[in-house]
């Protein structure tokens, strides 16, 4: 059923508008229940909320804020790919960049986006992306060396902020991990490994260069 529904990919734009309708009807029925709080209006609102949320859960096709709640529901993969950004100083030395500099974009969102969209990017688009990533890396470096918080999300609440669903690897813990002079270039890599091989030998990781800027 789910695969059947997902097969209509070309209908996705229209389905997006329909999903707005699903949410709008939830709001309207709620307002009607608020205006006439007799059990009939309330029951209609409850029934609609139950029907939509259960239908979405059972067929596992989202209509957010009614959602599938699918979590780590696939079989574990044998190989995985992870993003690494490397800032380059004027001497050409590379330093691993803490991916929290991308916030409020979560690193896993950006890595997944890159995985599927990089082949479609023109050279100009890659340069635009590279410029943005370099700027973010440099701003993060400056925050680290000046003793401020690396993660933009922690600007207000500090370590009491709500983490992302998947914990970030907090790569930068000391100013010694970055150069004292600005980053002037950036490389993006995919790290690729076999899960069991890396379990036996932590060094078994392959690096694949995606692009370099400038």
């Amino acid at each position: 059923m789910t695969e059947f529904l997902r097969g209509f990919k070309y209908l996705e734009p229209a389905v997006d508008v329909a999903r707005l309708g699903v949410f709008a009807l939830f709001v309207v029925l709620g307002l009607l229940a608020a205006r006439r709080p007799d059990s009939r209006a309330v029951n209609r609102f409850i029934l609609y909320a139950l029907a939509v949320s259960c239908a979405v859960g059972l067929v596992q096709v989202e209509s957010w804020p009614f959602t599938t709640w699918a979590l780590v529901n696939h079989g574990a993969p044998q190989r995985i790919v992870s993003l690494e950004l490397e800032g380059l100083d004027a001497g050409g030395r590379g330093f691993v960049v803490d991916l929290r500099v991308l916030q409020p974009l979560a690193p896993e969102e950006f890595a997944t986006w890159l995985k599927f969209n990089l082949p479609r990017l023109t050279p100009a688009a890659r340069a635009s992306l590279g410029r943005f990533l370099l700027q973010r890396a440099e701003e993060g470096r400056q925050r680290l060396v000046s003793g401020r918080r690396v993660a933009p999300n922690q600007w207000l609440l500090g370590p009491l902020d709500a983490p992302y669903h998947f914990h970030d690897a907090k790569t930068w813990t000391s100013a010694a991990q970055v150069p004292p002079t600005p980053f002037v270039g950036l490389r993006a890599w995919f790290l690729d490994w076999d899960v069991e091989e890396r379990f036996r030998d932590p060094a078994r990781v392959e690096r694949r260069l995606l692009f370099q800027y400038p």
């Binding site: 949320s53 780590v72 529901n73 079989g75 609440l157 902020d161 669903h165």
Partner: protein, 293 residues
């Protein structure tokens, strides 16, 4: 059937518990937006990142305003959440908060997916809209506290909104378990699969996976299988808290423990863990009718 329906949804409920639910939902929502202080800035990210976001998807979440207007609306969201939390114009504030959360939550993921669940906004969004449609401002408000006004008596109008939010919350666990069997089948429960997930998540998310708790557990197949079976049984059983006081006493602490274990072993954080408090009876007045179960 009808009697069971009425008994579940329309029995007298406590205004204090409903007010507490409003406070919890607004507090979690506020914590989330304070933890994403410049979420609208994603609009200023390079256009390439937005290339898969169709006009229809923008329309779905009403992402049609320029950055300055979005920042103003995001500031307004902080104000409405604070008002909902304190009980200042609680229903209007809850309504505005719910709509604005619907608008802003997808910013986090929309370049990849239009389904921003597990980012901490979903239950506050739905829950605050339910609070807006109910008498959620009759108790646990700052003005009420200031005037030392006693909360009203229990009534059905205070029961169904809280029950509906609790059902939404239980669906998290139930459908998390269901989706594992729906997608992967019984193979999901095999020790090797749990071991694989432990290794993948710790290798991808830990600075030092070798020293992680996940690696330590992955070395014991029997424990991996136990984690799978206990986890999925607990998730399927969680909705029992809706109907049984005894189940609440057992499953609520277990759920909290489950989230701590998930964080340590699988590196997965559940931002809505505080909403387990939705099931606590905050109204200790002797006039409150006893709960069945």
């Amino acid at each position: 059937m009808s009697a069971a329906w009425d008994r579940f949804w329309h029995r007298p409920g406590s205004p204090v518990n409903l007010g507490a639910a409003r406070v919890l939902l607004a507090a979690v929502g506020l914590w989330m937006v304070l933890s994403r202080p410049d979420l609208p800035s994603l609009l200023a990210f390079p256009a390439e990142l937005w290339m898969n976001v169709t006009p229809e998807r923008r329309l779905r979440f009403l992402m049609v305003l320029p950055l300055g207007a979005e920042r103003a609306l995001y500031a307004l969201l902080h104000v409405t959440l604070l008002c909902a939390l304190l009980g200042l114009f609680p229903r209007v504030a809850s309504f505005a908060s719910g709509l604005l959360l619907y608008h802003f939550a997808p910013f986090e993921t929309v370049i990849r997916t239009a389904n921003p669940y597990l980012r901490g906004f979903t239950i506050p969004c739905l829950g605050l809209l339910v609070m807006a449609c109910a008498r959620s401002g009759d108790a646990v408000t700052l003005p009420g506290l200031w005037r030392r006004r006693a909360p009203p008596e229990a009534a059905p109008a205070y029961r169904w909104p809280l029950a509906l939010v609790q059902v939404f919350f239980c669906q998290i666990y139930f459908f998390a378990a269901y989706s594992k069997l729906f997608t992967t089948g019984w193979a999901w429960l095999e020790a090797g699969n749990i071991r694989g997930h432990l290794l993948v998540l710790n290798q991808a998310l830990s600075a030092d996976p070798v020293a992680s708790w996940g690696y330590a557990l992955a070395r014991h197949p029997a424990l991996c299988a136990l984690v799978a079976w206990v986890g999925i049984a607990g998730e399927f059983a969680f909705p029992l808290v809706l109907v049984s006081e005894r189940a609440r006493r057992l499953l609520l602490p277990l759920a909290a423990l489950f989230h701590v274990a998930n964080s340590l072993l699988f590196r997965i954080f559940f931002q809505n863990v505080w909403l387990l408090l939705l099931f606590v009876d905050w109204d200790r007045r002797p006039t409150t009718p006893p709960r069945p179960g």
